[in-house]
Symmetry: D2
């Protein structure tokens, strides 16, 4: 492919401009059309991309012959319909997370993408984040040992949405991080609880807790909240050999590698039958990270996979896995925290 | 009562010396006996309290006529038997948390204390902590508004015990804090999950998650862990008017009062049916705390209640409530996280 | 003035693109020309501002009739010559800090600007910073009391320059902050020391210390360094009533207002003639700041002052004061730290 | 020496109890007498050391035959007289810092100690601190490279004294740390400035700045202040190979070793004659420290040196060096910051 890859974006709302700015700096990408139903946003897109066609009708964008790839940056509830049409029209698709609202819809999209032989990618930005990748490299090198547990907290007093709850809004990031670290293993069970505290017309959980258990023994706990005194974006990883934290808010010390653990060989028994297992607490290393903007790496991966016929890191399968988990978690939440098993 | 209150302590292990040092500085308290089955610990007690009688037999201590009050600082499994004997002998009793292992045992002790007309107190130190009390005062003054949720995390790589799991070891602190803030209301339900990762002869949960729901709508979530990269002792309180954090590790900014919340009157609807609730984010106030050692205030309360015939803040009822919750949480854990209702 | 203000920028190096991006978003500003002697940078400017004329010759830009105002974003050594030409051509001028290298040159520029009746502004961005202004408001409201001392630290391992030393590079920010807080009072004396540790062809101080004394009794101490383990941008203000810190690196708690001081009325004399003055340590308040990008506010001030015939906050006088101090500090440094008096 | 070393302490004020508690836990030390002119403090000593003789007359303590060693914990102005008498009486002496107020007095004491063949030690606790020693080991191993600069800040709103200024109160700690790291080299020059802001009968500097230059090129800058919004006890060490911070307030990350520096081989020249030296910014390591209480190690060193005829780390020479520097700094301060040379 020698000519440029021609990109259109559907949806230019809160996050959309960032995506388009990121992909537009790729030397082989060309922004040819932008669609949004808000005239003001559309005007903004026009100023930023003077040569792009602007339109309010989604179908017009999909129908264009001069478009190779479509970025779907719409509310989650619209992902399936629009992406389905775009895939049917033979367009490569990048869809914001979550890929779709149901497992079944995800499978339909994956099937279509396969049949049309186009790239289907989902916006799991964190799989492209330098900190997440650094920790993945540590795990792969055996430095962390067996993974005992992952505790992820994503809390912030911010935009409270009315289309999805806090879990659908925030937890997909943590699902994609945890699964990436756990080699894309699926959990064996999940339990979730959601609580809605804000008095509003259509209550949606603003605070959710969920726990996933894996066949390996790993346990993943995720707290998602829109109501929090502090901005928290933190993932703690406890392994048998080392313990690692990834704190996205702490820019100077984002990844912290603790040489800590339990020394199982030396057990001291005290009176009354207590015993004290000796703990090992060594140096703390804060690795230097060269953090290129993850969104840029992600969008470049989309362009490069289209041009080179490769499969992106955050492919449709990755999107399917996260939606399966979200779906099961929602079911557990509806059934008051009952455990949902994965086959 | 004009003469001094004569104190004996049973158990002089890990925490015992701190208790005895704290109470010994009370001008009206006199340490008359110490018991431990470890000769080395006993010798240490002797150096610290040269005039105290030292003995290895618990019954000898209880039988002494020159003892008014007994401090039970033994492993949790021995609390009931020893405290029962001491109460039967008419001694005022201070028992380390938890008061006993079962609700039924706690009730027996409460009944005995009432019959013998002696003080029964349990070691819920945090109810005497300046930070916890400061926040209680804020709540009582209506500054926090309706309490939406409390998230407590108590995690640290430290002494891993073999007599109780991480929840029994760590969560009682958070139970007593949460109940204190919630005016001693009992939850309507509790769900708990425990996970044991360390390969050891008799597995006990080293990581536990639990959620309590209250009739008021408040939700309390508690994470207890012996395996953690960082030492975390943090409680977050989300109210409708303000949000407060209590971080016991952050000595300089232990209590942080965030003037944050959701402005429910102003809702902005965006395209595609999303809406954005406006959040309010005002000043952060870190109140100056005059932190006297909580253990000292607690032990002084014991002496003063004995001498003045008062009921301590952390009385037997408080101990009973925490044990009821622990018992229910353990049942939930055994039943794989099933919700346990309180009548 | 109804038509747009036509802007040209001379110098499009490290910081230049930020200035131009900031001013270009002003609705009444239009970028008409950019000059740089590096073709690559010029091409970058062309992509960002497709309608602007690009040229390598500075004089060509100054000679243009369609230019109302010129931004001088060149190395400090070139500021005077270029700004002088631009003023002579009747252009409003914004000059990056420092305004010029000598007091005498600054005065020449101020005289020219007055004669030509154009705006002369210098790039003291911090006078437009929300945190700096918040503290200024506290001082003006009398909350800080008498200003005892200001300690400013600006240290970072970063671009080590060969045209100016660390003081000329970093301290102007702190000079402009301190003078702004001290109501533009000039110091009565200054002492400076500089140290060059890096082995390089033309040694320039990479670490400087300086102290300014003011008639009011205030003392300002400034540390500037290119060699530092940590990125530090912190100013501490000690007043008789309150103490304030401004930490530019701590995004969440940038301004901290400590209700701390010495209670002079209560003095406790101890044995041996020591005495202990009682200190007062009250609440800490971290005010919510609405930080709009200071650079944008600054550049908007330039445009607005041109259009409305006003004097900018960071006017030529402000630039003159900072250069006078830099000049005196350099003299002190050359004379091994000898105090330089200001008349 | 098989019997215990018999210790007396003169002065049981603010810090005195800590010293005596630390030394008393040494198995070969015995507290035989305590002197103070405050009856209340003396009573406190009596409760803590029931077998020690208590007296108000210093001479009585020195005259006792059952005393081998004397701890002088008095205000600085009394150090010389009391220590001189104690040495003349043949007692080993531990003197709180500073050893004496003048170089000449220090030399007198050193001469006496040599003639009497007794141990003379000064209370430079930080030379026994795990963090300071860890950094010393790094320096000795060549990991830090050439030492460029040390910046020490010791600031806190606390006890404001009337016998000595902030420098005499706080800077001796930093002098002893810097000299220890610099292999006990003496500076070639020192400059100091002091400022008194508090309105009080006898003004003493509450804020001091001083700079020492060493023959090696190292520069040490010390800020001492009684008036500070924050409690700061921090030393930054910049070397040619690594940069290290020691923050005594940050208990969890006290020593931070930054693999940072300037890569002198790769210099990039930009347009306009600027150049940009490439900086190297690698991992940050926070070593695990086993911090035993420094005061205990220090006091044990005193006992052990007496018993084994060894010279302590913080010997009289160390005390002399610090007093020489204090004396010169005071002279510089009196002469308005003029540099004082050391021969």
């Amino acid at each position: 492919m020698t000519s440029k890859t021609r990109i259109a974006q559907i949806g230019f709302g809160y996050w959309g401009p960032n995506i388009l700015r990121a992909i537009s700096s790729h030397g082989d990408a060309e922004i040819v059309a932008v669609s949004d139903n808000d005239q003001e946003q559309l005007a903004k897109a026009g100023r930023q991309f003077p040569t792009a066609a602007l339109c309010t009708d989604i179908d017009d964008v999909i129908a264009r012959n001069d478009v190779d790839a479509i970025i779907v940056a719409l509310p989650a509830g619209l992902h399936f319909d629009v992406t389905k049409k775009a895939l049917e029209a033979g367009k490569h698709c990048f869809v914001e997370k979550p890929l779709a609202l149901t497992t079944s819809d995800c499978k339909t999209l994956l099937g279509l993408a396969a049949r049309k032989n186009v790239v289907l990618m989902v916006g799991h930005t964190f799989e492209y984040h330098g900190a997440v990748r650094k920790i993945k490299a540590l795990i792969d090198a055996g430095e962390v040992g067996e993974i005992y547990s992952i505790i992820a907290q994503r809390m912030n007093l911010r935009r409270i949405r009315q289309d999805v709850d806090a879990m659908w809004n925030l937890a997909p990031h943590d699902f994609s991080i945890a699964l990436y670290w756990l080699n894309q293993a699926m959990p064996v069970s999940i339990r979730a609880q959601g609580f809605s505290h804000l008095p509003r017309p259509k209550p949606l959980a603003d605070l959710t807790y969920l726990t996933m258990e894996f066949a390996s023994g790993a346990v993943v706990h995720i707290i998602s909240s829109w109501l929090s005194p502090e901005k928290i974006r933190k993932v703690m990883l406890v392994g048998s050999k080392k313990m690692v934290t990834y704190d996205d808010v702490d820019v100077e010390s984002m990844v912290q590698i603790h040489d800590k653990g339990v020394d199982l060989s030396s057990v001291v028994t005290t009176d009354y039958g207590e015993y004290q297992t000796l703990v090992r607490s060594g140096d703390l290393v804060i690795p230097a990270l060269r953090i290129t903007e993850p969104l840029r790496i992600e969008m470049y991966d989309f362009v490069d996979c289209i041009r080179q016929g490769k499969t992106p890191v955050a492919d449709g399968q990755s999107g399917l896995r996260v939606t399966r988990i979200l779906e099961a978690a929602s079911e557990s939440m509806a059934r008051n925290g009952a455990p949902i098993k994965f086959e």
